[in-house]
Amino acid sequence: MEQVKVTIALILAILAQWSLRNVAEPFAYVDFPLIIIVFAALQRNSMRAIIYGTLAGLAVDALSSGLLGANGFTKTLVAYLVSELARRVYLDNLFLRMIVIAGACLVDDLAYYGLHQLLGITPSAPLVTTVAYSFIGTLIAGTTIFFVLDYFSSDRLRPRRRESLSQRRQSRRRNPIKLGR
């Protein structure tokens, strides 16, 4: 079920990336698929995150004037790096996740620009401005989307929390010291 939710979120992110720039130019600086890929990678299923990264990247490249495969390359790389990081470090804190989104955005943008330069194509947008705006836009949107995704995906966690709390209460009641009094 969780996989279906993330897949739907990824499809919506791709569609948003395709269409929202024409509604308002600032949406160009929000990388919706990257946010979902980072979310998927943080769930410690690296294989799924990597495949999502490639597919989402190619979908964005298909409608872009840039090189076909450039976003596919960078998003695959980001998915792998984040999933490896999530395996080694505990990243369930929102503040840490914000740092991960920011880092992922920087790696994605710089790798994208670098690959184009390597193959002799200069992107139309200036490097520093675009990276800075993307950083801000993706970080704000990413934090908001993570809140929403966490809300929808944490329904399985809530009963577990309740169960653990009730067990604790029970154990307190059965405390032999308290019973002895």
Partner: protein
């Protein structure tokens, strides 16, 4: 398993990129499919967003409508007096304009289109329009606005097409400073990597060039017809007798704010058979006098 999958996918994407960077002017099948799928999302989103935006704009403009109405009535009266006073001059002007319009209209048929999507990446600035092969749009057709040249069609789906702007790094077109036939300042206009500036190269340094002069297409590139306005010169780095000028031009079409464009249903002149049969490498190296005897 995962590192091998990553290496395989990264390598696959890199090969795609290298192949894509090498092949110029070709149409990608994946792009045609993506354009078709995206149309089902982009068209409704654009229609809804423009509807909502127009509603709020009209609501905001209602406040000043009364004052504007009074001003317009006064202006209409002034214009009526002006028209009566200049009827002879106007009639002559109209005749000349009709002649000019007839000349332009008979040359190319224009298909109007709405921009329904922009480049999903912040690094580039292409546009998706709501006309495709079913409307008669074909690859490499020029796209214009009333201001000037916008770019050319680089991918065509059945209902939509993609337009690459003249500011794109890989774009190039033959251009002349001033009217063709009256000027010998010929050169090539290409993108600079900036969204509001293009560069004209190979203009001889011995020709005098001033900022403010207008640049038009020559039609010699085999894609764009001659006489389309490209833009106005904003900066000239002067060359010498042996070094060409570097000329920077601001595009005449408002590339950042356009919402509607016109597609020129213009068929490019056929290339000679011998040129089409040559491989790309041979086209540049082989000369007419080096043919075997």
């Amino acid at each position: 398993m995962t590192p091998w999958l990553v290496i395989f996918l990264l390598l696959g994407n890199f090969i795609l990129m290298v192949f894509n960077a090498r092949v110029e002017g070709g149409e990608r099948v994946i792009k045609v499919w993506a354009l078709t799928v995206a149309d089902f999302v982009q068209s409704p989103v654009t229609t809804i967003s423009s509807g909502v935006s127009n509603y709020f704009i009209s609501f905001a403009e209602l406040r000043s409508a009364q004052d504007e109405n009074t001003q317009l009535k006064e202006r209409v009266q002034e214009l009526e007096v002006e028209i009566k006073g200049r009827s002879d001059l106007e009639a002559e002007n109209e005749r000349l304009r009709q002649l000019l319009d007839l000349k332009e209209k008979s040359k190319y048929r224009v298909l109007t289109a709405r921009i329904i999507g922009r480049d999903p990446s912040a690094w580039f600035n292409s546009a998706v329009i709501n006309r495709g092969s079913l409307d008669g749009v074909a690859l490499n057709m020029p796209v214009v606005t009333d201001g000037g040249l916008v770019g050319r069609i680089t991918a065509v789906g059945p209902l939509t097409a993609q337009v690459d702007l003249i500011t794109h790094d890989k774009s190039g077109l033959g251009a002349v400073i001033g009217e063709i036939g009256n000027s010998n300042a010929l050169g090539v206009v290409s993108g600079t990597g900036k969204t509001d500036l293009v560069e004209m190269r190979y203009v001889s340094g011995s020709i005098e060039v001033q900022p403010g002069q207008v640049v038009f297409t020559t039609g010699q590139d085999g894609i764009y017809p001659d006489g389309l306005k490209v833009g106005e010169i904003v900066e000239v780095i002067s060359g010498s007798a042996t070094v060409p000028h570097r000329i920077f031009i601001r595009p005449a079409a408002g590339l950042g704010s356009m919402q509607e464009v016109g597609i020129l249903l213009y068929e490019q002149p056929q290339k000679p058979d011998f040129e089409r049969s040559l491989a790309p490498g041979e086209r540049t190296t082989r000369r007419p006098d080096s043919s075997p005897q």
